[in-house]
């Protein structure tokens, strides 16, 4: 039997799925709004209820997002020379031969993804709140227009980033997905991907 | 439909992607809403406000007025109305309209609702009381006549006047002609001479 190491605790797992779930609802309804996909009425009943889902899923998303951001803040924003090397080799994804250099708990790609989630997540949430709640403002029309723009730019960003994340965490890296199910990975698996981290935790 | 068609062409021409995804942003929809006056009873009336005499068609359904708008056949107004004429509806259906007779007793601070029969009988009694009390069968007037010497002299003589100076009336330029005629007839039969209305002011 391979020895297992814990890569994610229960909180992280639950929070991840809450975030993912709310995003899924938001993205689907968001597409619905964007392209007036009346087919979605079979899911939500009507656009009015879809709006309710979208708004409250947004609230859940925001809570979960904040937890995520805070939780990974310290590890995600520490960029090192390893990261630069990882970037220079594109994480080893663009060649069968080039290998990624040894990484700490998170590799540079993951840190980058964190950044995308941080920026786009906050922006899409904030702009969403403005559109929804229409805060008192001398020029609410302008504020809503800007928010509308930001909301959509972020959406565009996320609808690209999220599928990439899903791919990388599933098909592209077999064995990764279980982290978000069991929280543990085989020690060997971890060593290959997060050598420095494994050394650090001294297993 | 011209506009949405044009729009659609422009959009699809401008963005191949959009048209290939067949996203029509401004679909021409006919939103079926039934015309609420379709089966209503129509009757013609004349505006009750100023004296231009514009024609109004009133739509009623189940004994209720549901709409009132200009009569397009009317030669003066040709279907048009001003803000007052256009709101005839709100005179008829108005929660502040008084729907039951009211009486205010001497010294009372508020109205009380009463029955028609009572109110009309009481008014009739007062008309009679006041009339009987103040009725003048004759008054004295100075008239010019010839004195015994053939000279013109002014003399006071008694003349029949059959009137009451105890009751006065004002109104009503908003009644129908027939009602105006009935009203002057009724008031004069009681002996009123103090009869005035809006024409004087």
């Amino acid at each position: 039997m391979n020895k297992m190491v814990r890569k994610a605790n229960a909180f992280e797992i639950v929070n991840h799925w809450v975030l993912a779930g709310s995003f899924f609802v938001l993205a689907v309804s968001g597409f619905g709004f964007l392209f007036q996909l009346e087919q979605l009425n079979s899911v939500f009943g009507s656009f009015n209820t879809m709006k309710v889902w979208h708004n409250w899923a947004g609230v859940v998303f925001i809570v979960s997002l904040v937890l995520t951001i805070v939780h990974y803040l310290s590890v995600s924003l520490r960029f090192t020379s390893d990261d630069m090397e990882w970037f220079s080799k594109a994480g080893g994804y663009l060649s069968r031969r080039v290998k990624a250099p040894p990484q700490d708990e998170l590799n540079a790609g993951q840190k980058l993804y964190y950044l995308v989630v941080l920026v786009a997540g906050i922006a899409i949430s904030a702009s969403g709140l403005v559109i929804w709640l229409r805060p008192a403002s001398s020029d609410i029309t302008r504020l809503v227009l800007i928010s509308h723009l930001i909301h959509n730019i972020c959406f565009d960003l996320l609808v690209f980033a999220i599928p990439a994340h899903i791919y990388l965490a599933t098909l592209a890296n077999p064995g990764t997905f279980r982290i978000m199910v069991y929280g543990t990975v085989p020690l060997e698996w971890a060593r290959k991907r997060h050598q420095k981290w494994v050394q650090k935790i001294g297993v | 439909m011209n506009v949405s068609r044009r729009n659609f062409l422009k959009l699809s021409g401008g963005s191949l992607l959009l048209s290939s995804l067949s996203i029509d942003l401004a679909p021409a929809r006919s939103y079926a809403q039934t015309l609420r006056i379709k089966n209503a009873k129509e009757s013609s009336t004349i505006c009750p406000y100023c004296s231009v005499g514009c024609g109004i068609i009133v739509h009623a359904s189940d004994g209720k007025v549901i709409n009132a708008e200009g009569d397009p056949d009317h030669p003066i107004s040709e279907g048009t109305l001003c803000s007052k004429g256009a709101s005839l509806f709100q005179i008829i259906n108005n929660p502040t309209r008084v729907m039951k007779p009211r009486y205010r007793a001497p010294g009372a601070g508020e109205w009380q609702e009463v029955e028609w029969d009572w109110a009309l009988d009481e008014i009739a009694k007062r008309v009679k009381q006041t009339r009987d009390k103040t009725f003048k069968i004759s008054t004295k007037s100075k008239v010019k006549g010839k004195g015994p010497d053939g000279k013109e002299v002014e003399a006071e003589k008694e003349f029949v006047v059959n009137r009451t100076d105890g009751i006065a009336h004002v109104g009503s330029a908003a009644l129908d002609n027939e009602e105006c005629y009935m009203l002057q007839k009724l008031l004069r039969s009681w002996g009123l001479v103090y009869i005035e209305h809006q024409a004087r002011i």
Binding site: F47, M50, V144, L145, A172, K192 | K10, L18, A26
Partner: protein, 253 residues
Amino acid sequence: MARKALLISPERCIGCRGCQTACKEWNHLPGTKTVNRGTVENPPDLTPYLYNRIRYIETATEADMVRWLFVSQRCMHCGDAGCIKICPAPGALFRTKEGAVAFNKEKCIGCKLCVAGCPFDVPRYDDKDKISKCHLCYDRTSEGLLPACAKTCPTGAIRYGERDALIGMAKKEGYGKVYGEADLDGLGALYAFIDPPKLYGMSEKPAIPESVVFWHKVLKPLAYIGLGGAVAAAVLHYVAFGPKKDEEVKKDE
């Protein structure tokens, strides 16, 4: 069907507000409590219960000469309508077969994006948070009746008819330019002005907000491209490089 429109001629308007009332009557819009603000113009702006109102503009020109202009403010029924463009709820805002921009309160989700998308600040929201604005009486026009405002106007200051014919009529009456003839794919409320539109509180060159155009032309397609691109990239990557294999790593060591 040829596109229909309103031709509004302030020079003919006598400010009687028959149109303002007839609109309320037909659409059963309640009267609201107002105060006199030192002008006979009231209410001060469009409301969810006021689709059409007359603005009174007083201008003192030269010595001792005063002009008093009356002009109807309402939805302009743009050919290229910012509100329809930005509206996320299908059927909430729609174009009628006569060419008007109408709405369906049942479909409206109350997001108020149309307010931001409108170049003329027209859409209002009622107490149930549903869109409210002039819909050119499409329930009447679809049955061959005139819109309530145009029907009631005593002097022909608001005329309804085929858009091209109205433009021709205005030109024949001596108006060189008709406001709204070409802007926004042609407005459904045309104005015959003798003065610059600015005098009547109208923008010289009305346009849908640039951000909405950018969003519509770029961001919206990008959302599909983004999603599609991400999926396609993943597929391509998988085919080209395949997943990271643990064995390979082992070999390396």
